[in-house]
């Protein structure tokens, strides 16, 4: 590196730094544009009436109420199934699994499942839950499909939370004569709960925005009664938004944008809750 080139090299560094910075900013600009677009189109249509109304043939009267209730109920099913199976799997992998081939296989398998496109989970749900189990295009089928979809995320985040509990806490518990299960239930899980909860809320917030698999397992596009059981017909917010977006008249875009605002606000609240739980209850060892 010759010194007469020094100025050139320093200049090149500065130019590239600006370039790298601009690239980072471009991604952020897209985010700002997206929010701006959604707010400018949607705010005019967003009012109390919109939130509490059913779909309607006229844009001014359409509302997202059944989608909100449907999303909420669906997440209820997903939470129950994914949380039970997810946490048990995580406990098995972190605390029990001997370092054998089966446990390794389960780990690799979970990693691979996380990379399967969500629409393929929809096909799985269509064959198994809708047809073979005979559930039909009902809330339960959608919930089970979605639960399997977010299961890998729940498992991995729960594993991380369990791993973060230091081993001296466990050893102290064993030293007091506690059995393994007692240690897990009374010492490890309570210490890991904030982390696990954070992971679960984040996985649910991923599930609440998923559209494709639910289209496949037959979430209805427009329903005029609220789902009242696990075997009801249902719709969810993203599907209502999708249907409105797909309509050619421009007014429906505004209706879709209003729905997006509702969806994003719910996602924001869930994420804020997750961050709050993490900051408030996370114990630092």
């Amino acid at each position: 590196m010759e010194s007469k080139n020094l100025n050139g090299r320093v200049l090149k560094n500065k130019v590239m730094k600006t370039l790298f910075f601009s690239a980072t900013v471009i991604a952020l600009v897209f985010l700002v544009l997206l929010f701006y677009r959604v707010l400018s189109q949607g705010l005019g249509y967003l009012d109390w009436n919109y939130i509490t109304s059913f779909p309607a043939p006229y844009p001014e009267e359409a509302g997202i109420w059944p989608g909100m209730i449907g999303s909420l109920m669906l997440m209820g099913v997903v939470a129950v199934v994914a949380v039970t199976i997810g946490i048990s799997t995580a406990i098995y992998l972190e605390e029990y699994s001997p370092k054998n081939k089966l446990a390794d296989f389960i780990r690799v398998n979970i990693q691979n499942l996380a990379g399967v496109p969500s629409i393929v989970f929809g096909l799985l749900g269509l064959t198994f839950f809708v047809y073979l189990f005979g559930i039909g295009y009902r809330l339960l089928a959608g919930g089970l499909t979605m639960a399997l979809l977010i299961l890998p995320v729940v498992v991995v985040s729960s594993q991380e939370a369990l791993r973060a509990v230091p081993s001296d806490v466990k050893e102290a518990s064993y030293g007091m004569g506690a059995s393994k299960w007692q240690t897990i239930v009374r010492v490890i899980l309570p210490a890991a709960v904030p982390g696990i909860l954070t992971g679960i809320i984040l996985s649910l917030s991923r599930g609440i925005g998923e559209t494709a698999p639910l289209i496949i397992v037959g979430a209805a596009t427009a329903i005029y009664t609220l789902p009242d059981s696990l075997l009801s017909k249902y719709t969810v917010m993203p599907i209502q938004i999708y249907k409105w977006t797909a309509r050619p008249q421009e007014e429906w875009q505004f209706v879709a944008a209003a729905g997006i605002i509702v969806l994003l606000v719910i996602l924001l609240l869930m994420n804020a809750l997750a961050v709050w739980i993490r900051n408030k209850y996370q114990t630092r060892y």
């Binding site: 590196m1 090299r9 320093v10 090149k12 590239m16 730094k17 790298f20 690239a23 980072t24 471009i26 991604a27 952020l28 985010l31 544009l33 997206l34 677009r37 959604v38 189109q41 048990s88 799997t89 098995y92 992998l93 029990y96 296989f105 398998n109 990693q111 691979n112 499942l113 990379g115 399967v116 496109p117 969500s118 629409i119 393929v120 989970f121 096909l123 064959t127 198994f128 047809y131 399997l148 299961l151 498992v155 059995s179 299960w181 917030s205 991923r206 925005g209 998923e210 559209t211 494709a212 289209i215 496949i216 993203p238 938004i241 999708y242 797909a246 944008a257 997006i260 969806l263 994420n271």
Partner: protein, 315 residues
């Protein structure tokens, strides 16, 4: 006499207490022994899921290939399933076109962001920018689809006259934006894993930041970076809502980004929203397309894992 009775009843009490405690302990131990198996049972759900995916895809695909020939499906260039033409190449072509556009957008943006965040940005700046990038990753794809159709497409139409409403370009660009955070944050992780001693050695030799980044850090983190890109490409291949909304529903074997195309995922959505009866040829075709899609993403995922495992530089 009465004293003896009391004593004997007391001894009996103590013994039964001991018995009680022992049986309780035994029960507890039995429970302790069962628990790992119960937990294993739920851990097996994930394996059952994989098995279920393979089973459904294979079973229905076999059903499909009993009616349509394998060669027709994989070499045919005409996809119009409702009139009995099952050549999947236009769908694969559509998927690849979208993926190429997305990669062209996401790789430079993602890599440059990663270099900026890892090599140039102060800790403070990184702490602000990284979470914002994560927000991009958390936005539902249906929202991106809306954004592509109602915002990006009109802008592109004003630049490129005659561009149709549904086109591969708009969808591809937005899919690219969607995977930028993935490329950026995984690549940045890989760069962060490069030990500082390497950087400091290069600085001591008089290298500029750019030289350190391009000649030391990026080469050292290359396996992680490539793995990140491959994983992001796999995500782009499987992306559904953006392309369904913005790229249209015209199976079209073209590499012209201005045209409307249909991806594999978009066909699955289209066919599933229509009236598809169980056991019909359209129903089976969902799975034949699905297994092709699954194979593409699986190969990319395994490739990504292989690259990051095989070529990892340990320091």
């Amino acid at each position: 006499m009465s004293r003896v009775t009391t004593t004997s009843s007391q001894t009996v009490d103590v013994r039964s207490l001991l018995e009680n405690k022992r049986s309780k302990k035994l029960k507890l131990r039995k429970l302790e022994n069962i628990i790992p198996y119960l937990l294993l049972l739920s851990a097996l759900v994930s394996i059952l899921t994989t098995a279920g995916i393979l089973f459904t895809l294979l079973r229905e695909t076999f059903g499909f290939f009993s009616e349509v020939s394998f060669t027709e499906f994989y070499t045919g260039t005409n996809w119009s399933p409702w009139s009995g033409e099952f050549g999947v190449l236009p769908l694969i072509g559509g998927t690849l076109l979208i993926t190429v556009i997305a990669t062209v957008v996401a790789v430079p943006l993602g890599l440059m962001s990663a270099i900026f965040l890892s090599e140039y940005a102060s800790l403070k700046v990184r702490k602000v920018i990284k979470p914002i990038l994560e927000i991009l990753a958390g936005i539902p794809t249906v929202v991106y689809g809306y954004f592509a159709l109602t915002f990006i497409t009109p802008i592109l139409q004003s630049i490129i006259p005659g561009l149709s409403i549904f086109n591969a370009l708009s969808g591809g660009i937005v899919v690219g934006i969607m995977i930028v955070p993935m490329v950026a944050s995984l690549s940045e992780d890989a760069m962060n894993a490069v030990p500082n001693s390497l950087r400091e050695g290069a600085y001591a030799l008089g290298a500029t930041r750019l030289e350190v980044a391009m000649k030391v850090v990026v080469p050292a983190a290359l396996s992680g970076i490539i793995a990140a890109i491959v994983l992001a490409i796999s995500r782009a291949i499987g992306e559904t809502m953006i392309v369904t909304i913005a790229a249209g529903a015209t199976p079209n074997l073209t590499m012209n980004p201005a045209e409307s195309v249909q991806t594999m995922t978009a066909f699955i959505v289209q066919a599933a929203t229509g009236d598809t009866t169980y056991g019909s040829i359209i129903y089976y075709s969902l799975y034949a397309v699905g297994i092709t899609l699954f194979a593409f993403t699986m190969v990319m995922n395994l490739l990504s894992q292989y690259i990051s495992r095989k070529f990892r530089e340990e320091y």
